[in-house]
Symmetry: C4
Subunit: 196 residues, 4 copies
């Protein structure tokens, strides 16, 4: 029972965070020239929207895949889950920062750094949750232990790659954006790439 | 189980997207003249709110009608569904664009074009989902296959008509608004009009 | 099954609409004088928040009480329910209008009129839903028919009283605000006042 | 059944209120200097976000722990619950006030006072709910009465400590912020500290 409610609350927060992203896409005012050109000029907002939407969507899928194996929740699991939600619900803010500054020669790298550093922190949040479950197999379904161990190794890939994306932001913010988009697509197909 | 959660998450996103629409209806400041006149002057905001609300409402009804036939979800179905939600959750933005520029002689047509082009893209998202189900009858309930084939033909009507509405925006943006409103009402009563 | 989903979607929209109300309470900037005085000066925002919150809360309670009697939903019921949600989800806008203009000597009456006229329209939406159920007893649980008939007479009280509150706005907007608050409290205790 | 819906609606409101908090974290405009410095300068927004997020998260956990013991809901319980949700859904506003003014020499204390006074009022809302349940043991599961009595004594700690935090705001707003953060962490681990 406890787990079902935990999942429903997490689903709610994820569904709201994903839908709030559109509030940061602002209607432009075409000064001279056409509205279509002004709308086209806002492409970083759409790109940031799409990447963040896909990323939260994948997080939802993975959150469910993980909790399919969980039978019981203890206080510490609740705490780690609230912590994870805290970082995911924060994502609309760095998404806005990215959309607004990615093209700025002065601030583009910093914006992309903050964006993918946030994704790395979310990845660490997942790791913390996963580590807690590995140490408390009594919370898991009996047949699940092996899955969680394998998944843990795979989950390590998340924060490390986002950390690399954050470092590459200082080379080019667009590189970070492309890398984060690629990671979202990569995590959609976890079955394709198996851990060694 | 998988499908139930998929539906709950989709319901959440649709319920939030439909309710966020009101945030784009802004309180006007009456300069000279009455508040009622200033509020009346904002009619494109209300019209856009009503059309988008009905359209998302219909989408929710149809999403449920479709998933009533689905027994299992594979990874690709999850992906197509997240893609569909991405386009629906985007709708508050073109709704704002439409509300702000539909009356503008210079930008009205572009605003209406963007609005109904978004609806056409959402329709394509449904088509993609539907096509995936047609090709994977093992995901469907046994008795559902025929329904889905018939429904597919019907679903084709959505993006094509919205594409026509987008083309007509260059004649008159009001024409597009009326056509989109009409389509929302038409899709409310799918039983009335049967495919040939 | 259909009804359970209808209720879940309605619950979602109501929960979001009620929570969005706070977004229209804006942080004031104290020019000279204390922050507490500036916050106190914003009392119409808090009053409008409380009245609208209670009103939507009551609507949620009554929506549930009504749908407890419903066994099946037809297309028309779905349509009337989407229509009702459309008017309820609209409420944050007249709430903002009321909060901003209730004190204005020029615009206070118009603001209060728009606010309680919206509530009257929501009441009419309930009536339409109720009328549909009365005419289609096959959608109801067998023992429910009598309840719905009695409830219908009671539901008539809603839009009529809000219409009176709207008319009284032209006497004083504060009168309307007090009346709407009173109605929210009155509808909390429907068992106390029985229909004749 | 009644209780299940009550919980679902409460979960919805809490999930939305917790996720809306991010909308008050605004993207800064770096005037001179780096974007990272400008983002760092916004630290009160992040601190207020984290404290409010954790606080609402704890409220969700405790709301569930309480309603686990409740078997039936009467009208008064519905009313007290809507009242509690009204105060929790209000929290994004004092969170904004705190974030904006905590550093202001003139207004910092007032902002912190308003913030923790709101938390004290939420605590009183819990107390009212709890008191109603204590007086109506027929609404509780048989084995639950003792838990609720013990919990009541514990719940008293909430509003009293937040009231102290509100008083200390006049000494230093940072003291209040630290105290509220500490309380959130303390309430995460209710098992650790037992009532005497």
């Amino acid at each position: 029972v406890e787990t079902r409610r935990l999942e429903a609350f997490s689903d709610g927060v994820l569904a709201i965070a994903i839908t709030l992203l559109i509030l940061d896409v602002k209607v432009p005012a075409p000064r001279h020239g056409s509205l279509l050109a002004a709308l086209g000029h806002e492409w970083p907002s759409y790109a940031a929207y799409v990447v963040s939407f896909l990323t939260i969507g994948i997080m939802w899928v993975n959150h469910h895949a993980l909790f399919d194996h969980v039978r019981r929740a203890d206080r510490a699991l609740l705490f780690w889950n609230v912590g994870l939600l805290l970082t995911i619900a924060f994502l609309p803010f760095p998404t806005s920062v990215l959309a607004r500054y990615v093209r700025s020669p002065a601030h583009g790298s910093a914006a992309a750094f903050v964006y993918s550093a946030t994704l790395a922190v979310i990845g660490l949040g997942y790791l913390a949750l996963w580590r807690h479950l590995r140490r408390h197999p009594e919370l898991l379904a009996p047949e699940a232990t092996q899955h969680v161990v394998v998944g843990f190794r795979r989950t390590l890939a998340g924060p490390s790659t986002y950390a690399i994306a954050a470092a590459l932001a200082w080379v080019s913010p667009y590189l970070t954006l492309v890398l984060c988009a690629g990671l979202a697509v990569y995590f959609v197909f976890p079955g394709r790439v198996r851990p060694p």
